[in-house]
């Protein structure tokens, strides 16, 4: 139990997806202009990552990993090079299903998410979650916790950046730094702050 809890904390703070691993930055920067959009994106990220990482874990272990076909008398079959296509397929399908479910049962939330739900298909953070799960050979429980944690970390970071950018909308910045330039500098400063969490984990 405590192992899972510390894995959760690590994936939220230490291995924060956008701030320390540079993942999902395109949507991170593009959708952090207004706090409402940022929070919507964060919630969608938690949902999608929490579903797709354990799902991809089952598919990888059951069908693709070296020796997964041993029960069928084909222990030499290694389909792990197909992982990328399988993961992308699962992610695209989950996003589609999530969108249809929301459209059917919660139209209000769907209208709020609408624009950027399909975008999540090509979110690098989501695919990276599944790839890291393979690289670090997590168990099913670990991958579920890792997916939820990474999604939460992304949500926290994007909400914080959106809040700061909202305040800076009134600031008198140099013309060249306005918008994207300032967003990068802010992200860098937040990333410095999150680097402190890495120290915390190292000294533990």
């Amino acid at each position: 139990m405590s192992d899972l809890w510390s894995l959760f904390l690590i994936s939220v703070f230490v291995d924060n997806m956008p701030l320390t691993l540079f993942l999902g930055l395109c949507t991170f920067l593009a959708l952090s202009k207004r706090p409402e959009a940022a929070i919507g994106l964060g919630v969608a990220m938690i949902g999608v990552m929490g579903v797709t990482v354990p799902l991809n874990h089952l598919i990888y272990r059951g069908l693709l990993a070296p020796g997964a076909w041993g029960w069928a008398g084909m222990p030499g079959v290694d389909l792990s090079y197909l992982a990328l296509i399988a993961f992308i397929g699962v992610i695209a399908a989950s996003v589609q299903v999530l969108e249809m479910l929301l459209d059917r049962f919660a139209p209000a939330i769907h209208a709020a998410f609408g624009v950027f739900l399909p975008l999540l298909t090509v979110q690098c953070a989501i695919l990276a979650g599944s790839l890291f799960m393979v690289e670090r050979s997590y168990t099913l429980a670990q991958s579920a916790v890792f997916g939820l944690g990474s999604g939460t970390g992304f949500a926290i970071a994007v909400a914080m950046l959106a809040a700061i950018r909202g305040r800076l909308a009134y600031a008198d910045l140099p013309a060249g730094l306005r918008g994207l330039g300032m967003a990068f500098v802010l992200t860098g400063l937040m990333s410095l702050g999150f680097a402190a969490f890495a120290q915390m984990a190292a000294t533990q």
């Binding site: 540079f22 395109c26 695209a92 790839l131 680097a195």
Partner: protein, 220 residues
């Protein structure tokens, strides 16, 4: 000099329409792999190859892809090309492949590739689409190599693994700035680069969201 359309399609993305600095595409990998120039170069080549081939293939079959499932078709094509590149890297450049970790696989979801195929290759014949893709790939490579070179130079005093500045730990005078190898400096460098380019080309600057009131209205 009259520039042919093909030439301007190729060169526009280098600075004036740079994919990383202006279109906010493909930033994730741009920052993650730039701790040394060698990984930045490998990533640039891999991405440019994938982008050009994907644009060509998608442009060839653009009349046959149904509108509703085009995203899936495009992603499957891109993912297949990425798998090929990944296997090639693992076979011949095992060390670089380990340094790039999952980021080669992440070319699949690099918004740059999907963005260009979606915005350009879908509506243009293969030669033009591939020229546009090559230009965007080179624009991306330019940013990557500049940041990679800066980070390796100041972070390790070296370029491409060759020591340029003699390190203090080995009797020289240069103390490496280890911050340059950490995540924040990549953000700062890219932010400063965006600032520099936009100061030189003011038309790229974004309009302010809230303009202050004109001077005359401020009565004392």
């Amino acid at each position: 000099m009259v520039r042919s359309p093909a030439w301007s399609t190729l060169t526009a993305p280098l600075v004036h329409q740079n994919p990383v600095m202006l279109q906010i595409l493909g930033i994730c990998s741009a920052l993650a792999v730039t701790t040394t120039l060698a990984t930045a170069l490998t990533m640039s080549v891999a991405l440019t190859v994938v982008l050009t081939l994907a644009a060509g293939v998608i442009s060839l079959i653009r009349r046959h892809i149904p509108e509703t499932i085009r995203l899936i078709v495009q992603i499957v094509i891109i993912a297949s090309l990425v798998i090929v590149i990944d296997q090639v890297l693992q076979a011949w450049f095992a060390e670089l492949s380990r340094a790039l970790s999952v980021y080669v696989g992440l070319i699949t979801t690099n918004c740059l590739v999907l963005g260009r195929t979606e915005a350009f290759a879908r509506h243009n014949p293969p030669p033009r689409a591939m020229i546009d893709a090559l230009g965007n790939g080179l624009g991306y490579s330019l940013v990557l190599c500049v940041i990679g070179a800066l980070r390796e130079f100041f972070g390790k005093g070296a370029l491409l693994g060759q020591t340029v500045l003699p390190l203090a730990s080995e009797g020289g005078w240069f103390t490496p700035l280890s911050l340059m190898l950490l995540a924040p400096s990549a953000f700062f460098l890219l932010g400063l680069m965006v600032w520099a380019v936009r100061s030189l080309l003011p038309e790229q600057a974004e309009a302010p969201q809230h303009a202050p009131p004109p001077r005359a209205e401020v009565e004392r």
